[in-house]
């Protein structure tokens, strides 16, 4: 099922299919957020934003507004 990181529930995983490069800073790619990479949503902050994800062995926090530009294929 294709969705975005913003729609994942805690503990769910998927593989990144595409990133909307216009709305994604280069640094996110440089930290390992790339097509073909597995991503897991570890936790959602108490006020529903930001999101705490594991991607490419990195643990990152990103905002929902960024997460919705990362398309994934859910496991």
């Amino acid at each position: 099922m294709t969705t975005t990181i913003a729609n994942l529930k805690v503990g769910e995983r998927g593989v990144i299919e595409d990133l909307d490069f216009d709305n994604i800073p280069l640094i996110l790619l440089e930290m390992g957020c790339l097509p073909g990479i597995e991503v897991e949503l570890i936790q959602i902050a108490p006020l529903q934003d930001p999101l705490y994800i594991r991607v490419n062995d990195s643990h990152l926090a990103i905002r929902k507004e960024t997460a919705k530009h990362i398309t994934i294929k859910k496991f």
Binding site: F21, L26, L29, G32, P46, L47, Q48, D49, P50, N56
Partner: protein
């Protein structure tokens, strides 16, 4: 290597890799912190002995995930390594990686390697390989990365000697690039670049083109040529993305052959702690408790050493008065210099404790969880979760705090953070608060646990944070600034703070603060002493005037001496200045002596206490070792006949100091960071007017 040679080494790496631990391990305390010329980015350099005849100058470059900078600090890395005329341009680069995040760490390694400077890869935290279920094939890695790879543990002092040996032999390292930057990205485009800049290696040209706005080192024809390639911004961006994807492809291929990890091991602690520390209730409760402990310790733990310092300087001043011959010079030392230095030394305990806590929170990895917890809340106030770090650091000193705001990526969020940070209770306010609280709040305990004085201090901290948030909200609503922001932070692993690193950080920050702010305080102390012990004709003729007024008095009596001293002070230059502003400050409950202290506080708040010390020691011939606090408590308001520092005027002073922008150092930093006088002036007048009104209301309401 020949005799007495020095090798220039640059340390590069991601944040949280233990790069600074390695720097501390290599240099010990043989390091210094300075600034890069023209900018206020901290520059850490140190000397390391490699063998009998060779030493290394080591620069600890700011931590970064990529050579493409997102912040001013990260820009230093690019500028140092891309300009071979730069003073710190290294003979060899040590890229520090850690075993767990090696994939991401290798991205910056692969970029650095392409610069064709000798590069060593140091893989840190190797003592935890087994625990984390990781195995690395170093020989394969060396071959694939075309350079020396060394396993180290900076904390446990493992592999440091091998690293030193590798640095010594850096001339024999292979400087071939990993060859990602090539026709594989865009054959046509990169061929044109090569044709245009035949003397440079390709990656250098590529960075010159993509990072032109961050470099500004190019001139003339070269600049023109670079601009030509920058015409199609969208295309450059797409190529950068492709470059990153290709780099990771290569890294993955290399690691497939040399790195294995059993992920079932060693991730337990992180997830367990995260569940509690970022929990929707416990997370905030724990954060609140931590803040409470910090502020309670700052006030309680610091009292003993502070009282000791206060007494010691009073004694020193008296002792000096006794052993030195009388005269102007002795007066300068005992009434100007010694109380001035005392006024600086006295708040070292509080600053050190605050820095200690901030350093521990950062070192353990907890600070990132706070950022995560607070981001959504802070956004309502126009800031980012990252603004929490400046706001907490602001409780030590606004100057480094405002500099720490550089990590915030959006300009508007960063600007608002810079503007509101001075509201947080910095340690320069602490001596003012401490002495006034000690004077007007009884030393009792509430419910037997919380000291009333501590609770008052906590309230002042809360007022500071609340006004920072509230003004952030207003600025967010009314400030029209165009900016795009993004938010990406790493959530590092939890770890125990290293004693050595924490100690060095606390020592450095305290030193920096004392010598930075100390110079201003000492200079002002001396100027104040001069202004207080000189004056126009009334001052010079004080004795004759007093004699003619009171004919019957015995001129040897103590009463007469007191009268003379206070008459002199009133008619000194500073007395005149204080008196001239008295009508303005009277509604807040202050007299001209406090007026003098207010005037000098505009250079730096902490001067308040020192100034009062100077004012009250001039004209105090008491042979007892009276401390500043005792002198202030004894001060009488001539109009009311009551104590000058009573509850209403004391509270009014607390409120005034909570709001007013009284720090030249901060104003100068804000000017530099925002590149405009508009913002520091907004702070000066906005906060000043707020302080005046609030203090006026407080005084009127309480008296």
């Amino acid at each position: 290597m020949g005799k007495n040679e020095t090798i220039k080494v640059a340390l590069v790496g991601n944040p949280n890799t233990g790069k600074t631990s390695l720097f501390n391990q290599l240099t010990g305390l043989n390091q210094k912190v300075g600034n890069y010329p023209g900018i206020t980015v901290e520059k850490k350099t140190g000397i390391s002995k490699l063998d009998k005849n060779t030493s290394a100058t080591i620069v600890d470059l700011p931590g970064t995930y990529s050579i493409n900078p997102n912040t001013l600090d990260e820009n230093i890395v690019l500028r140092t390594l891309l300009d071979n005329n730069h003073v710190d341009y290294p003979d060899v680069i040590v890229v520090v990686a850690d075993i767990e995040n090696i994939k991401r760490n290798l991205l910056i390694f692969s970029q650095i390697k392409d610069l064709q400077i000798p590069t060593i890869l140091a893989i840190n935290m190797s003592d935890q390989l087994e625990k984390k279920g990781i195995s690395i094939d170093i020989e394969t890695l060396k071959k694939a990365l075309k350079t020396e790879v060394i396993l180290i543990s900076a904390r446990k002092n493992i592999g440091i000697d091998s690293l030193k040996k590798a640095i010594l032999n850096c001339n024999f390292l292979n400087t071939k690039p990993l060859a990602v930057i090539s026709d594989r990205i865009d054959a046509d485009f990169f061929r044109k670049i090569k044709e245009k800049f035949p003397d440079q290696h390709l990656y250098q040209s590529w960075l010159n083109i993509t990072q032109a706005e961050n470099l500004n080192i190019l001139k003339g024809d070269e600049k023109k040529a670079v601009q030509e390639f920058r015409k199609d911004g969208e295309k450059l961006k797409a190529l950068q993305h492709k470059e990153t994807i290709l780099r990771y492809k290569q890294i993955n291929d290399i690691l497939k052959k040399s790195y294995k990890r059993d992920i079932s091991k060693g991730t337990d602690l992180r997830s367990k702690l995260d569940k509690i520390l970022t929990h929707k209730y416990y997370g905030y409760i724990i954060f609140g408790l931590i803040l409470f402990v910090i502020f309670q310790s700052v006030f309680d733990l610091a009292t003993v050493p502070m009282d000791f310092i206060d007494e010691a300087f009073a004694k020193l001043s008296n002792w000096t008065k006794g052993v030195m011959p009388g005269g102007k010079f002795t007066d300068l030392i005992t009434e100007g210099v010694i109380p001035g230095i005392g006024g600086i030394v006295i708040f070292i305990p509080q600053i050190a404790i605050l820095f200690l806590f901030v350093a521990i929170l950062e070192e353990t990895g907890y600070m990132s969880r706070v950022v995560f917890l607070m981001d959504k809340i802070m956004r309502k106030y126009g800031m980012s979760g990252k603004s929490v770090v400046p706001l907490i650091s602001g409780t030590a000193c606004a100057i480094p705090a405002i500099m720490a705001a550089r990590n915030i990526n959006g300009w508007k969020e960063r600007l608002i953070t810079i503007l509101v940070t001075p509201f947080t209770t910095c340690s320069a306010r602490l001596p003012v608060y401490a002495i006034i609280i000690a004077l007007i709040i009884p030393q009792k305990r509430f419910l037997g646990i919380f000291s009333l004085q501590g609770l008052t201090l906590l309230t002042l901290y809360i007022i500071g944070f609340a006004s920072a948030l509230f003004s952030g909200y207003l600025l967010h609503k009314f400030l029209k600034v165009k900016s795009s922001s993004f938010f990406v932070i790493e959530m590092p692993n939890y770890k125990l703070p290293s004693l050595k690193n924490t100690f060095i950080t606390v020592l450095e920050k305290t030193k920096e603060f004392v010598f930075g702010a100390g110079k201003i305080i000492l200079a002002i102390s001396i100027i104040l002493w001069f202004l207080a012990s000189n004056g126009p004709s009334d001052f010079k003729n004080a004795e004759e005037i007093l004699k003619s007024e009171s004919v019957n008095q015995n001129i040897d009596s103590d009463e007469y001496k007191q009268q003379l001293a206070s008459y002199k002070l009133e008619h000194s230059y500073i007395g005149i200045m204080g008196k001239s502003i008295e009508p303005i400050i009277k509604p807040m409950g202050y007299d001209w002596k406090i007026g003098i202290a207010l005037i000098s506080s505009f250079a730096a708040r902490e001067v308040f206490v020192g100034t009062l010390a100077t004012i009250y020691s001039v004209g105090n011939n008491d042979e007892n070792n009276t401390t500043i606090k005792q002198r202030m408590a004894a001060e009488i308001n001539p109009e009311t006949g009551g104590k000058q520092f009573n509850f209403p005027s004391g509270m009014s002073l607390l409120v005034f100091y909570a709001f007013a922008m009284q720090c030249m150092g901060t104003l100068a930093i804000v000017k530099r960071e925002t590149n405009s006088w508009k913002w520091p002036l907004l702070q000066l007048f906005g906060m000043g007017i707020l302080a005046y009104i609030a203090a006026f209301i407080t005084y009127t309401f309480l008296s």
